[in-house]
Symmetry: C2
């Protein structure tokens, strides 16, 4: 088993979707990523929470084999995101972002974390992602997520991270924004010249593209009858993706990478079925296996 060192946000979310509202529920990229990946492998988390963060949630993460020694508590409040989704559940509208303790986050890796073989840089400021990379020794695989906020606002810093990573996972709109191209294939090819060895473009309910080794893999999404809340789907996807790779000790080998993308699709399909990561909290390993089988059948010819 190869632990994943993961950095990202631990947050409160207030979310409205056509299915209802969730007020100040637990969220943040690191929560979704680590809960998802914990079905495949162990994790070491680096993050920051405020004094209002529930201690029993960190306890819950530990009960899932997740090491939280790298999660510090800072004076003040936890990061709080408020957003809503219209009928188009593929895109969130941010209503407010209260960074709170996240504003002065400076990730410090416990010594035991520095030999991590798998590193996931969640969606945080690119200079913090770089700082994490400066603290790790010789990882086998570095994966990274980002978002339009950093692509537009901290482009120069972001572009410095790209040559240092193996695998970038962003969504389709972000890929087009990063490349300045309106065609997703052209955008992907351009991004691959900027540093990452492989790229996963997440397309929400339409699945994902994997660009690697000069080839394209078109991964389907699991067809879902009722999407309650898409928040965290992308991070959950990344958790399945990197979690699978770590569980089999793989790098960017074609076969493993394609299976990993499908694992990402499967995990994301659970998250959207309820608010927050409630569905992941009650998820059974057996349900994952059943849905993996089902997803494979949807592309069988």
């Amino acid at each position: 088993m190869n632990n994943i060192l993961a950095v990202g946000s631990l947050a409160f979310d207030t979310i409205s979707t056509p299915s209802g509202k969730a007020d100040k529920v637990l969220g943040g990229s690191l929560n979704y990523f680590s809960l998802s990946a914990s079905f495949f492998t162990g994790l070491q988390l680096v993050g920051v929470v405020g004094e209002d963060f529930p201690a029993d949630h960190l306890e819950f993460l530990r009960s899932r084999g997740i090491d939280t020694k790298g999660v510090s508590t800072a004076p003040g409040k936890t990061f709080h995101w408020t957003g809503e989704y219209g009928k188009d559940l593929n895109e969130a509208i941010t209503l407010s972002t209260q960074l709170n303790v996240f504003e002065h986050f400076n990730p410090q890796l416990p010594e035991a974390y520095r030999d991590a073989q798998y590193v996931f840089l969640g969606n945080i400021a690119p200079e913090l992602q770089l700082s994490v990379l400066d603290q790790v020794r010789k990882p086998k695989l570095i994966a990274m997520d980002s978002m339009n906020f950093w692509i537009s606002g901290k482009r120069d810093e972001l572009v410095k991270v790209l040559p240092r990573i193996d695998l970038l996972t962003i969504n389709e709109g972000e890929a087009k924004l990063l490349a300045g191209e309106s065609n997703v294939v052209v955008a992907a090819e351009k991004i691959l010249t900027m540093g990452p060895k492989a790229l996963v473009v997440k397309r929400g309910e339409y699945g994902a593209f994997l660009f690697s080794g000069g080839e394209i893999f078109s991964a389907p999404a699991v067809p879902i009858r009722r999407v309650i809340d898409p928040t965290g789907a992308g991070d959950t996807f990344a958790g399945g993706l990197v979690g699978y790779l770590a569980s089999v000790g793989a790098g960017l080998e074609k076969d493993a990478l394609r299976k990993a993308v499908l694992a990402g699709s499967v995990m994301a399909s659970f998250t959207v079925e309820d608010f927050s990561f409630r569905r992941l909290q009650r998820l059974e390993k057996q349900e994952i296996e059943m849905r993996q089988k089902y997803l494979l059948d949807t592309i069988k010819v």
Copy 2:
């Protein structure tokens, strides 16, 4: 070889896309469908054109093994559609529809057409689709296309056609409109209770869903670097789909149907690479085979 009896429109199109403009070029569902299907099997066309329709185009169709005896010429002008696409190439905006001779179209099948084993009811008024069904004897497979114009405007008539067909192909927005459901899976399941035995939901650049035998097949689209004009992609898709089924003499068997959907994806990917059906006109059988192989590799795990 099983000929397909196909009915639909033969038209002029005036189209603007971000890539340019095409003025009064040849189009119409029957042109796209039949050119696409002609790579797989023979066809018998039923349609109407005006006195301004170029005779050499009908000659060209015949040179591709397409029987045009059922295409009549009526006094007046040919159907003329004007539309444009914005940056979102997945949806056309209709600027004008001049029905012209199409307004009084009354499909009459030559006697030799009435024993057709495969029937494709292109996107025309549902009462005309019914009239064609009343004239055929005992087809093995009936496929049908439609659009929001008929779903909204002639719903009662459309609903009468559905129990008489085997396979419905419509796009995602049309499926949601027909079912009155915002989730595509729920919409598809509802449509299947309205009559058709199988349903293909076309999703543009995101591929297509096949709902059949209680199972879902998630077909990818061919990743395309530059989309010039999406007009006719859906009809071209249907041409590959029904053309493939006719070429192997299949009905709704799972294996054949899934391959047929992929054939539809492959054919549609060519059409969008140029205005009108120019790409289909210069297409070589070998290019189809190469792209089929390529598409299969994009879903290989």
